[in-house]
C-alpha cells in the first residue's frame, strides 16, 4: 500500500525534530537560571545535540542545519559570529567519520567518546575566541564549562535517545 499524503507529512515532520530539538537546546541554554556560580560555567547543550544526531542519525541533521544552529548559538552567546558554527561543524564531521567505531558500543564508551570530542571542541573554541579577540582568555571557566557539558551529557543524551526511539521514524 502506498503511503497517503498525511502519512508522508507525518513522517516528514517527525524527521525535522532532531533539528528543532538541537535548536531548542541552544535557546534553553540562554534562559537566565539565577543559580549562583552556574552562569559562567553553563554547559554547551547544543554540543550534545550535535554529537548525538551526528552519531545516530546524521541524515536528519544535515551540515547546513548544523551551521545555522552554530550561528544562532553565536548570536545568543555573544561569541564572534562563526565560532560555534565552525566548532559544531568540526564536531559533526569528526563524529560522522568515527561513526562506525561508536555504533553498537556501550553507553560508557560513547560517553568517553563525547568527553574527547567536547575537550577538542572546548580547546578549538578557546583558540578561536582568543585569536579573534587578540587576547588570552582565562582557561579556568572554559575548563569548568567543559566538565559541566560532559557531566550533563547522560541526562540530555537519555532524553534524546528516548525521543529518537519514540518519535523519529526508524531508518528504512
Amino acid at each position: 500500500m502506498r503511503p497517503g499524503v498525511w502519512q508522508k507529512l507525518d513522517v516528514a515532520s517527525r524527521c525535522m525534530t532532531p533539528v528543532a530539538l538541537t535548536l531548542a537546546l541552544v535557546i534553553v541554554n540562554a534562559v537566565p537560571l539565577k543559580i549562583p556560580g552556574l552562569t559562567p560555567v553553563l554547559p554547551v547543550l547544543a554540543l550534545i545535540g550535535v554529537f548525538h544526531w551526528a552519531l545516530y542519525r546524521p541524515e536528519l541533521l544535515p551540515p547546513v542545519t548544523v551551521f545555522l544552529i552554530g550561528i544562532v548559538q553565536d548570536t545568543l552567546a555573544g561569541t564572534p559570529l562563526g565560532v560555534y558554527a565552525l566548532v559544531f561543524l568540526a564536531v559533526y564531521g569528526g563524529v560522522v567519520m568515527q561513526q562506525r567505531f561508536f555504533l553498537g558500543k556501550s553507553f560508557t564508551v560513547v560517553w568517553i567518546g563525547f568527553l574527547i570530542v567536547a575537550a577538542l571542541a572546548s580547546a578549538l573554541t578557546w583558540i578561536l575566541v582568543a585569536v579573534l579577540h587578540g587576547a588570552l582568555i582565562n582557561p579556568k571557566p572554559v575548563s569548568f564549562q567543559f566538565i559541566m557539558t560532559v557531566g550533563v551529557y547522560p541526562a540530555v543524551a537519555w532524553i534524546l535517545m528516548r525521543w529518537q526511539n519514540a518519535i523519529v521514524p526508524a531508518e528504512d
Partner: protein, 292 residues
C-alpha cells in the same frame, strides 16, 4: 534514499553519490564559518546589526521562557529567606540603626551642599532618565559576558547607555533592537571603563577578564591604592556618568590590582538603563561609520 549496504547511516550517506554533494556542502560551510569570522573582524558594525535583528526576533521567546525560571528562583530564595528570618531580622535592625546615623549626616551634608552650590552658582549635572527592563537571557558560558533585556529603541534605549542594577554598574548597552537590547557586562573581556579609585580620585581603566574579577589598568606609578578602596565611574570619555559605584579593590599582588564588582550576575533580574543625555564614545564611532 541511498542504497543500504549494511553500513551505518553516516558512512552510507557519505559514500553514496549524494554523499559527494554533502561533503562538498560540508567543506563549503566550514569555509563559510571562517569567512563569517573574518567578516566580523572587518565589518564589526554589520555583524552587530545582524546580531541585533536576530536577538530582537528571539526576545519574546526568551521573555516567556525566562518567567518560569525566575519564578522558581524566587521560590527558592523565599524558602531560604524563611529559614533565616530571625537572623536576618536582627541584622536588618542593626543595619537600620547604623543607616539612621548616616541619614542624619546625609541631611546635614545635603543642606550644606545646597547653600554652597547656591553660593558658587554651580552648574548641576543634567537630570537622568531611567528605563527599567527585565533580563530575559543570560547566555552564560566562558567566552562572553552579556545579557539580553526586554527594552529597546521604542523605550528610548540607545547604544552606549550605562546599565545599573541595585548594587552597582552592570555594564553598557552594545546593541539595540526594537524591543530588546544587548548589555555587555563590565566583566566581559572587551569591557574597558574609565574609573576613579578611592578618596584620592586616582584615575584608571577597569578591564573585564571574562571572570568574576576585574583588573585596574594604566594606573599612575606609585598611586596609593589600598585593599578595600571603592571604585566608581569617572565620567571621562563621556561614555558613563560619573560616580556610579562599580566595585571594591580586593587584592594587590605583583602590581596587579584586582577589583570585585558589586554586580552579582546570577541575581540580576531587572536592570535600570540610565540616559544622561551623554553622547558617549560608542555613539560617535557609529555616527562616523554611517557617514562614511
Amino acid at each position: 534514499m541511498a542504497v543500504n549496504e549494511g553500513k551505518p547511516g553516516g558512512a552510507r550517506v557519505l559514500q553514496s553519490s549524494k554523499g559527494v554533494a554533502l561533503r562538498f556542502a560540508y567543506v563549503f560551510l566550514i569555509v563559510g564559518a571562517v569567512g563569517l569570522m573574518m567578516l566580523g573582524k572587518i565589518d564589526h558594525i554589520l555583524v552587530e546589526r545582524y546580531r541585533t535583528v536576530v536577538t530582537d526576533a528571539l526576545a519574546p521567546v526568551m521573555d516567556v521562557l525566562s518567567r518560569p525560571a525566575a519564578s522558581i528562583a524566587n521560590l527558592i530564595e523565599r524558602g531560604q529567606a524563611l529559614i533565616d528570618l530571625r537572623a536576618e531580622n536582627d541584622r536588618l535592625r542593626m543595619e537600620r540603626d547604623r543607616l539612621l546615623q548616616w541619614q542624619t549626616l546625609a541631611f546635614e551634608l545635603e543642606a550644606r551642599n545646597r547653600t554652597l552650590t547656591d553660593l558658587l552658582r554651580f552648574v548641576p549635572d543634567p537630570e537622568a532618565r531611567f528605563v527599567a527592563a527585565r533580563v530575559v537571557a543570560d547566555t552564560g558560558g566562558a567566552f562572553a559576558h552579556a545579557l539580553l533585556v526586554n527594552a529597546g529603541e521604542r523605550d528610548g534605549v540607545a547604544k552606549g547607555q550605562a546599565v545599573m542594577a541595585g548594587d552597582g554598574l552592570v555594564g553598557r548597552i552594545v546593541g539595540v533592537g526594537g524591543r530588546s537590547a544587548r548589555v555587555m557586562l563590565i566583566t566581559d573581556l572587551n569591557s574597558r571603563i574609565p574609573v576613579v579609585v578611592s578618596d584620592g580620585r586616582i584615575r584608571s581603566i577597569l578591564a573585564g577578564e571574562n571572570s568574576d574579577r576585574l583588573r585596574l589598568l594604566h594606573l599612575v606609578p606609585g598611586a596609593a591604592v589600598a585593599v578595600g578602596d571603592r571604585v566608581v565611574t569617572s565620567g571621562h570619555g563621556g561614555a558613563f556618568p560619573p560616580d556610579l559605584p562599580v566595585g571594591r579593590v580586593t587584592q594587590i599582588k605583583d602590581g596587579i590590582i584586582t577589583v570585585k564588582p558589586f554586580l552579582d550576575r546570577e541575581r540580576i533580574e531587572a536592570v535600570r538603563i540610565i540616559d544622561y543625555g551623554l553622547k558617549g564614545i560608542l555613539a560617535d564611532v557609529d555616527a562616523k561609520a554611517v557617514q562614511q
